[in-house]
């Protein structure tokens, strides 16, 4: 527990200038992840999960203003020049994005796309990078890797492509893997395979993982810690076991209740009535208040609840105290 985090984010705030005014996509978020550990960022679509990791690594859109502190392997990233930050990406942080159908370049071979980060960061020749790509394809479980290295993305299935994307992210053996809903676009069987693959690679390589998902079902089996986001803020965070056993925030409770039965497929959270707030117009109090089925404390409506401890390492941003079952 005492080794320093691979990536830590403190008071991260992302404001995006839009035609209709500034959108507060991420509003003061703190989390960190250690080597070999998996942090799950959970929340409905639009809650700021992607934006927080993109902004942390210098990938936020041009219109975004990013504030806060981000440490990657002890280096403060927000103070770095864009070029120094670029050199950390790919080398120390690998990314896996949601849709393997669109996140691969259609006109380059998968081998080239896997190898190019190794050319850039490790100084490999194009030939050596191609050999490395074959190793990686093998590592992520693509059969007859040597024969697939010159294939184009459209020649592979969705599951295979996501394996390619994972290979791409791991080619420089990064310290951290950021997986942004990597299974959402896949069918259920493939989803399970990808989850298993990442867990396996993490065990073998000791990589820290930030796993973004809106499906709490995925979190239970793989993550060590979980941070639940809503309206650009973390509303609850802590060790997975603690949060699952004793969720304190009504939003977490609702998310857990909305969790699809294992194997039922389709992880959408339509069962929480209403929709998330607009980042253009966040409520003054708890962002979940308009949809909250509990409304257990009057202050929630107009006062932002602080993140308060529930138990060791387990915090929730709510005034409401659920009744203790064991009391």
């Amino acid at each position: 527990m005492s080794d320093p985090p691979v990536l830590s984010v403190e008071d991260l705030t992302v404001t995006i200038g839009t035609r209709r005014g500034p959108a507060r996509a991420v509003a003061g978020v703190d989390w960190s992840v250690r080597a070999g550990e998996t942090l799950a960022l959970v929340g409905e679509s639009g809650s700021g999960k992607s934006m927080s990791v993109l902004a942390a690594t210098g990938l936020a859109p041009r219109a975004a203003r990013v504030a806060g502190r981000v440490h990657l392997l002890g280096t403060e990233l927000t103070a770095l020049s864009p070029d120094r930050r670029r050199r950390m990406r790919g080398r120390h942080v690998g990314f896996v994005f949601q849709d393997p159908m669109t996140s691969l370049n259609p006109v380059l071979t998968v081998g080239r796309q896997i190898g190019e980060a190794a050319e850039e960061h490790l100084g490999l020749t194009r030939r050596a990078a191609r050999d490395r790509a074959v190793e990686l394809l093998d590592l992520v479980g693509i059969p007859s890797a040597a024969g697939r290295v010159d294939a184009y993305p459209h020649q592979l299935s969705g599951g295979m492509r996501q394996r390619v994307v994972i290979a791409m992210a791991l080619v420089c053996e990064p310290d951290l893997l950021i997986a942004d809903e990597p299974t959402t676009a896949l069918d259920v069987t493939t989803q399970a395979q990808i989850v298993e693959l990442v867990a396996d690679l993490q065990r073998r390589l000791g990589t820290a993982v930030v796993w973004i998902t809106h499906d709490l079902g995925v979190v239970a089996g793989t993550a060590d810690a979980v941070a639940v986001m809503y309206g650009g803020r973390i509303v609850e965070q802590g060790p997975v076991d603690a949060v699952f056993a004793r969720p304190a925030h009504p939003y977490t409770v609702a998310l857990l209740a909305a969790r699809p039965e294992p194997g039922a497929g389709g992880g959408d959270l339509a069962t929480i009535p209403g929709s998330p707030p607009s980042p253009l117009d966040l409520p003054a109090g708890c962002a979940f208040w308009p949809r909250c089925p509990v409304r257990g404390d009057a202050r929630c409506a107009h006062e932002l609840p602080p993140l308060v401890p529930v138990s060791v390492d387990h915090h929730a941003r709510t005034f409401y105290r659920p009744p203790r079952e064991d009391a």
Binding site: T57, L59, R86, R87, M88, R89, G90, R91, G94, F95, F97, D99, T102, S103, L104, N105, P106, V107, L108, E116, A117, E120, H121, Y152, H154, V165, M168
Partner: protein, 314 residues
């Protein structure tokens, strides 16, 4: 690939056959007797009949058409009503002028539009982007003949740097050709450049928003690599078509510009043939333009398959 090309060439042959039929039928509908026009004031019934017979116009239409197609297959497109010279050589003589003007104009347009379109997409919203937008708007809205006249007045008249009009064959005198081609090529090319700039800008913008560009950035590649390897390789695929379409349309001859600059190209030839009701020449010119168009289309398809691995030609 070889079989694809052969099949496409055969298809092109069929299309050309259709073109000859349409042109042939249209010319039948045009009022006025071409032989009479060709004779002009020297008209007398005997010469008239003799000329009609020599041109085969006294035969039934079907026979006329079939013999035209039959001869065309051997490269014989008939003789000009006006000069009596073989149409094939008349048309081919004009090809170098048109070809060299069209290619120069498209090369110029591409050299302008490519950096302008790409940079204005990469820096969208910047002063450069605004300047590029003004340029394209200007290029597509100002009539090209007016621009041509302004260029002649400025560069030939006021400054005296370039000849106002005329043509020198590239093979005879490359420098002379170059000094003559500049004004018409720039006049035509500016319009083409405006169209291309707009297209390239939006093609690059579209690719910039693709997920795989973000993936490339997430890998920590240098901006130059992201732009060249990931953005441009994809954005340029549709641009190839637009450049080719522009080239093809210029090969049809830019009639107004060729007339304005006394450029003896296919456009000028077509114009003169219409004026003189010289149907064989008109038919020949149309056929040539159609053939060039089909050829360029074929080249684009082959190029496409090379640029985009998702497309295979069979």
């Amino acid at each position: 690939m070889g079989r694809f090309v052969i099949r496409r060439l055969l298809q092109s042959g069929v299309v050309l056959l259709g073109v000859t039929l349409v042109v042939f039928l249209l010319l039948q509908l045009v009022p006025g007797d071409p032989v009479r026009v060709a004779l002009g004031t020297r008209f007398d019934p005997q010469t008239y009949e003799a000329l009609r017979a020599r041109a085969g116009l006294d035969r039934p239409l079907v026979v006329q058409y079939l013999s035209y197609v039959g001869n065309a297959l051997t490269g014989d497109l008939g003789v000009s009503f006006r000069s009596g010279r073989p149409v094939t050589s008349i048309v081919l003589e004009r090809l170098p002028a048109t070809l060299s003007l069209a290619v120069t104009a498209v090369v110029f347009a591409t050299l302008v539009a490519f950096p302008l379109g790409v940079l204005s997409a990469l820096r969208s919203g910047s002063p450069l982007d605004h300047a590029a937008r003004v340029f394209s708007q200007f290029g597509v809205s100002v009539p090209d003949f007016w621009m041509g006249i302004m260029f002649i007045l400025l560069f030939a008249g006021v400054l005296g740097w370039l000849p106002p009009s005329g043509y020198v064959a590239l093979t005879d005198d490359p420098l002379g050709w170059a000094s003559h081609v500049v004004l018409p090529a720039v006049t035509v090319g500016l319009v083409t450049a405006s169209i291309l700039t707009r297209f390239i800008r939006s093609a690059v913008l579209e690719v910039l928003s693709e997920d795989y560009v973000r993936t490339a950035e997430a890998k920590g590649l240098r901006t130059r690599v992201v732009v060249l390897r990931h953005v441009l390789r994809n954005a340029l695929i549709p641009v190839v078509t637009v450049v080719a379409v522009q080239l093809a349309s210029l090969l049809g001859g830019v009639i107004v510009i060729e007339v304005l600059f006394a450029w003896p190209g296919v456009g000028r030839l077509t114009y003169d043939a219409v004026q003189a009701r010289d149907y064989p020449v008109l038919q020949g010119a149309v056929l040539l333009v159609a053939a060039l168009f089909l050829l360029i289309n074929l080249l684009v398809d082959v190029l496409y398959a090379r640029l985009d691995p998702r497309i295979t030609v069979r």
